[in-house]
């Protein structure tokens, strides 16, 4: 299984402000009644973006100004709550390829990296400054440089960080762990054999 090496990401951005945005908000539970992830993209932030009659509400993602944005800017503790991978899947299938936020909830972070969708941490003031630049020139491309930990728009740059292990797996094209895990199967079997509660035979 060969995965893309992800070190540079470019695309227009959109800022969805707010702290502690939970995964129920990213994808309401009623849209998880499915046995594949196909089609989840249209339900990203559904209840924030549409009213009870399915009519669009004012929301940055509905704003034609930000149409085609592939980089999401958010606040603190983004993706908290449920472990549902449906949340990053919905964002990815909506077209997002990276998220910039002040901090991320742990399970959401891991789920996103496994999809090859980096979650980079930025200072809150930098996010708001970047959001202001995007608002002035909405379709301008942001450039995320993963190895160097930077995001830039035109000639302005801000630090955007990933933990070393996440940086490494993205850049090396090993962000989906399954291949690495399968390589260790012999060691798995010998570890399991040492644990009395696991009967492997």
């Amino acid at each position: 299984m060969s995965l893309a090496k992800i070190s540079q990401i470019a695309g227009p951005g959109v800022y969805v402000p707010g702290d502690d945005v939970d995964t129920d908000r990213v994808i309401p539970a009623r849209y998880m009644k499915c046995i594949t992830f196909d089609g989840l993209g249209e339900y990203a932030f559904y209840d924030e973006r549409f009213d009870a009659n399915g009519q669009p509400k004012p929301h940055p993602i509905n704003d034609p100004k930000y149409a085609g944005a592939t980089i999401l800017l958010a606040g603190r503790n983004f993706g908290c709550g449920s472990s549902r991978e449906h949340a990053p899947q919905a964002l990815y299938r909506h077209g997002f390829r990276a998220i910039l936020a002040e901090s991320f909830a742990e399970i959401f972070f891991g789920n996103s990296i496994t999809l090859g969708m980096p979650c980079l941490v930025m200072d809150g003031r930098d996010i708001r400054a970047l959001a202001a630049l995007i608002e002035e020139a909405p379709q301008t491309e942001l450039n995320i440089d993963i190895p160097n930990g930077q995001v830039s728009l035109a000639d302005v740059s801000f630090p955007a960080k990933l933990p070393d292990h996440a940086k490494e797996v993205l850049v090396d094209g090993k962000w989906d762990a399954i291949a690495d895990l399968l390589e260790g199967l012999d060691a798995v079997k010998s570890t399991a054999a040492k644990l009395p509660y696991i009967q492997t035979a």
């Binding site: 499915c34 046995i35 209840d47 449920s82 909830a105 496994t114 690495d180 895990l181 009395p196």
Partner: protein, 469 residues
């Protein structure tokens, strides 16, 4: 220097270090349900990979099952397709499935302990963030996403970064009317909804020593609401007694050997922690949430905080919360009208929760106009509650007595709030739209506080309603 339980369990289950510095960790016990597993089985088929150790995965159906109409086909065709898909996947792979007809179906985090599958010194994973519940037994239990469900099915391992460990001590005796639920809401209120980021929480202190196994589960369950993916309590005699005789617990001589092994995993007295915080049980009162995350909580006799009373960083979420909850800062929460009372969820739908409420609810009626539903956590809990006469106490009080499942905790089945109904709920999340209506409002509290709200029709102090002192 001694080691924590976390260190010991981690070391015993470490397969190897991966090239990127993460650990390949063996997951001894894997629990699955219908919502987060079908895509994982699909990925396995695409990769042509078998399930490595089918005997180490256990399944049940909880999120989408209706709690009133229990016969298939369910009227919701999507829900019906999901249960059938899980059944097919379990059949094909040879995975034990606690199905609807088994008498053992229920919320996965209630079924695991009830069956004795959840054991000390083990690693557990499940595609559900409340998997931290199992930490109450001194297991290290991770909520995971669907790709990791695939990883565990295919390799019985996952790639993980070792977190830090924070010991949270609570000492002393809780006052009457104050419960394990109040303890965890208090901890989250104090440490914040993201305070546990990067940590495993070890709960300790005399309050936890005296807690029953089920009370410990309530606390560990909500670790994730404080940002900690893992929460645990060191195993002790309470744990060992709970497990004795359960279907999947070791029997007879094996049990004694297991207890010796289980004891060895407990944190050493001189274990080193990355952080330690301490609370006094006497400082904790009946707690309710007023906002849109579980950290936005106050004691029942406090007023809803004004923005000025909150740290700067919490103010924008507070403004969002006032607007969504339609509550006024500076006003008491007590007296707020309630439309629905929900007693259920993996946090508080065990037999001891129902027993405690029934003790006080006996002979009382819920207020006209309030919809009250009790959803036992498992078919096992429901059967015990019926045999003890608890179900009748709830029915006679005007509650609807339902079948087991997640129900209105997340509104994936037909049990949902309507419009902006306000629900007094024994569940774990008060997120916007969590209970199935985008404008629905959730106030989290202990089961007895839910009963008090049902009886009076408003957010109330259970100590006053039921005469506890």
């Amino acid at each position: 220097m001694g080691k924590t339980l976390f260190d010991k369990v981690w070391a015993a289950h470490t397969v190897r270090e991966l090239p990127n510095g993460m650990t390949q960790l063996l997951i001894g016990t894997h629990l699955i349900h219908e919502v987060t597993s079908p895509q994982a089985f699909g990925m396995l088929r695409d990769l042509k990979l078998p399930v490595l150790y089918p005997q180490r995965t256990f399944a049940t159906v909880d999120h989408i099952v209706p709690t009133d109409e229990r016969e298939e086909p369910f009227s919701d065709s999507l829900a019906d397709a999901m249960i059938k898909e899980l059944r097919r996947n379990c059949d094909e792979a040879g995975i034990k499935f606690f199905d609807m007809a088994s008498g053992k179906q229920g919320i996965v985090h209630i079924v695991g302990p009830e069956q004795g599958i959840t054991q000390p010194g083990t690693t557990i994973a499940c595609g559900d963030s409340h998997t931290s519940t199992h930490g109450a037994f001194g297991a290290i239990a991770f909520g995971i996403g669907t790709s990791q469900v695939r990883d565990v099915l295919a390799t019985q391992t996952m790639a993980l970064q070792k977190p830090k460990v924070r010991r949270i001590e609570v000492n002393g005796k809780l006052a009457p009317g104050v419960y394990a639920k109040d303890v965890i809401l208090h901890i989250i209120r104090k440490l914040g909804v993201n305070g546990g980021l990067g940590y495993a929480y070890e709960y300790a202190g005399s309050t936890f020593d005296h807690f029953t196994q089920e009370e410990r589960m309530t606390v560990c369950n909500m670790s994730i609401e404080g940002g900690a993916r893992v929460g645990y309590v060191n195993p002790d005699q309470t744990t060992f007694d709970y497990l004795r005789g359960r279907p999947y617990a070791p029997a007879q001589a094996d049990y004694d050997a297991a207890v010796t092994r289980w004891k060895s995993f407990a944190s050493d007295p001189d274990a080193k922690y990355d952080d330690i915080v301490k609370y006094d049980a006497a400082d904790i009162g009946p707690t309710v949430t007023w906002g849109i995350n579980p950290g936005q909580a106050i004691f029942i006799d406090e007023t809803i905080p004004t923005p000025e009373e909150l740290p700067e960083k919490d103010r924008s979420t507070a403004e969002e919360a006032y607007a969504h909850m339609k509550l006024q800062p500076g006003r008491p929460i007590k007296g707020t009208k309630v439309d629905v009372a929900f007693l259920g969820s993996c946090t508080n739908a065990r037999i001891s929760d129902l027993q405690e409420v029934a003790k006080y609810l006996h002979g009382k009626k819920i207020k006209a106009g309030v919809k009250g539903i009790v959803v036992p956590g498992s078919q096992g809990v429901a059967a015990i509650a019926e045999s003890m006469g608890l179900a009748d106490i709830f029915r006679n009080a005007g509650f609807e007595w339902r079948g087991a499942g997640c129900s209105m905790c997340l509104g994936m089945n037909p049990d949902k709030l309507v419009g902006d109904q306000l629900c007094a709920s024994s569940s774990n999340r008060n997120f916007k739209g969590r209970q199935g209506s985008p404008t629905g409002r959730t106030v989290l509290m202990s089961p007895l506080m839910v009963a008090a709200a049902a009886v009076t029709g408003e957010i109330s102090d259970a100590r006053e309603v039921f005469g506890l002192s």
